[in-house]
């Protein structure tokens, strides 16, 4: 398994390289540049700025310089934040995005699995129907719509929660739920389906024939098997959640990497865009790697070589 992990990490580097190249090319292909203002700057000024930041050099030289910087852990400079490098800016956003993402992920898993299990165990009861209704609704509402609905209800009408910002627990609740809703809905569906399937497996009957406590049958024999497909989708769902943070952070004015990314795009802040895209690519790739390794831990039939 260690060999497998090492091989996957090497692949991860290749993925990041490809992502960086594509992003870099796209950034330079998109019309507009970092110096576009409502009031046009003088051509001499733009030329001077381009020279200062090396934007006058050929494309591949620029990309090469970026990679060289990356090797030293330096993501370059940001045009919007003159006082700090991109690495520092991202490092400040990281704990915020991570806290939000992990909170949302935990909520999604807890709600998704318990709802899915409850629905399966009480198939065709009101719990089941409610769970199916819930997952259908939340799987079809986009995160930004849900975010705005939550905001209108809990901030504007009820005044229970602040509309945005970061720093207190009350400010995490809405964005975390807005982010968690979609993955929770998917996880609930998958859990329900796989639990229903596992419940009728012969080995569950064998477990009962041993006279085990129903609780033991449920946790040791049903849950563990029904979670295998859930773990499989947890990776892609985590990726969804991460990309969702871009929108949710912007709506709730949370100073995380997602909002920096959006700001970076609007400002054509090349350094910031590259930095945040690479961050997202890295997180998604690592999430998939973790899932693949977890998968093998739950299901002994999976072999890595």
């Amino acid at each position: 398994m260690t060999r497998y992990a090492i091989r996957r990490i090497l692949w991860l580097l290749v993925v990041l390289l490809v992502v960086s190249f594509i992003t870099f090319s796209l950034m330079h292909l998109v019309p507009g540049g970092p110096w576009d203002r409502e009031k046009q700057l003088a051509p001499q000024v733009i030329e001077a700025l381009n020279r200062k930041y090396g934007l006058d050099k050929p494309f591949f030289v620029q990309y090469g310089n970026f990679l060289l910087g990356l090797l030293h852990g330096d993501l370059g400079i940001s045009y919007s934040y003159q006082d700090r490098g991109v690495t520092q800016i991202l490092m400040q956003g990281l704990p915020i995005t991570a806290t939000l993402g992990i909170t949302a992920f935990i909520i999604a898993i807890l709600i998704g699995i318990s709802l899915g299990m409850a629905a399966a165990l009480k198939q065709n009861s009101w719990i089941d129907y409610l769970s199916v209704l819930f997952s259908t609704i939340f799987a079809s509402i986009p995160g930004f719509v849900l975010a705005i609905i939550l905001m209108v209800v809990f901030s504007v009408i009820l005044h229970w929660l602040p509309t945005g910002g970061w720093g207190s627990v009350s400010q995490i609740i809405m964005p975390a739920f807005a982010l968690a809703a979609l993955p929770a809905a998917f996880i609930a569906r998958i859990t329900r389906a796989s639990t229903l399937e596992v419940m009728h497996q012969d080995y569950v009957r064998t477990a009962r024939s041993k006279g085990l406590l129903e609780r033991v049958v449920l946790i040791r024999h049903i849950l563990r098997n029904s979670l295998i497909p859930v773990v499989t989708i947890a990776g892609p769902e985590f990726a969804n959640l991460v990309t969702g943070s871009v929108i949710v952070e912007t709506i709730f004015s949370i100073p995380g990497i997602g909002r920096l990314f959006v700001q970076g795009i609007f400002a054509r802040d090349y350094g910031l865009i590259m930095g945040s895209v690479l961050f997202y690519a890295f997180v998604i790739a690592i999430a998939n790697l973790v899932v693949d390794i977890l998968y093998g831990m739950i299901d002994p039939r999976i072999r890595y070589d």
């Binding site: 024939s209 041993k210 129903e214």
Partner: protein, 333 residues
Amino acid sequence: MTALIEVRNLKTYFHTQDGIVKAVDGVSYNVNRGETIALVGESGCGKTVSALSILRLVAEPAGKIEAGEIIFDGIDLLKLSNEEMRKMRGAKISIIFQEPLTSLNPVLTIGRQISEGLEFHKNMSTKEGLQEAARLLKLVGIPHPERRIHDYPHQFSGGMRQRAMIAIAIACQPQLIIADEPTTVVDVTIQAQLLELIRNITKELNTALILITHNLGIVARYAHRVFVMYAGNIIEHGNALDVYHYPCHPYTAGLLTSVPRLDESRKNRLIPIEGQPPDLIALPIGCSFQARCAYAIPQCQREKPPLLEVAPNHYAACWVSQKEQRPWQKKSL
């Protein structure tokens, strides 16, 4: 001698969208301590359901035990609470299922699956349970048991998995083991080995055994008494050798001629039983075998034959047989 288990007039029905399937419709049988009986019949005749009913493991909510008594060691199992019933399972009565691959949990080690019952019923620690599991694996003939307890089912061969199932079933030294077609998915040589193993173990532990099979050849060799089931009823029972040599029901005779026998010349072709078993939702009036029976008389269509003694300790539910006529016996011998 009182029987270890006595099933009386058991009725287990399945409530489906198409109607009520009378899988087991008034079945009675008994097993003495240490005795091996066989439940025989073709697929869907209710033999498995009648055995699962003993453990109260019929798939709910569709399947339901509607009536009857199952007296085990003086207690009616059908009157026990779920909690009390759970304590019987695995400890007093255990079962070996037909499909060892799907009947073992793929994500737990073999050792764990053997030891969990021991931990629960015998209050063993996990460590003691695993030691006992290794001993049991050795007993059922698996080499290197100390190593093998850490394996998962997919690392075992088909025969070994069934041995592991046997180890699970005997773990708590139950008084009754139900073996539900334990050898249908393994090849013939392994089949014989497994049956010998089950016989030796039950003899050693003085465990009663209900052997469910469709192979009457196995029955003659391994069972003391046999109960032949057809369409949810017992239609013949008696000592295994009597039933084997002098079948008193044409269905049993048909089963015998449809199974290859080593004690007969190979010139005789196997004769299948023509037709299909009746629809268990709408059973015919009269004998349920009449439509497939070459010896049916008008009475068979009018009245359902009761199970009566037609020879000493040999019972059959057949009007023809009860009239002391058994044309099929001449044919099959």
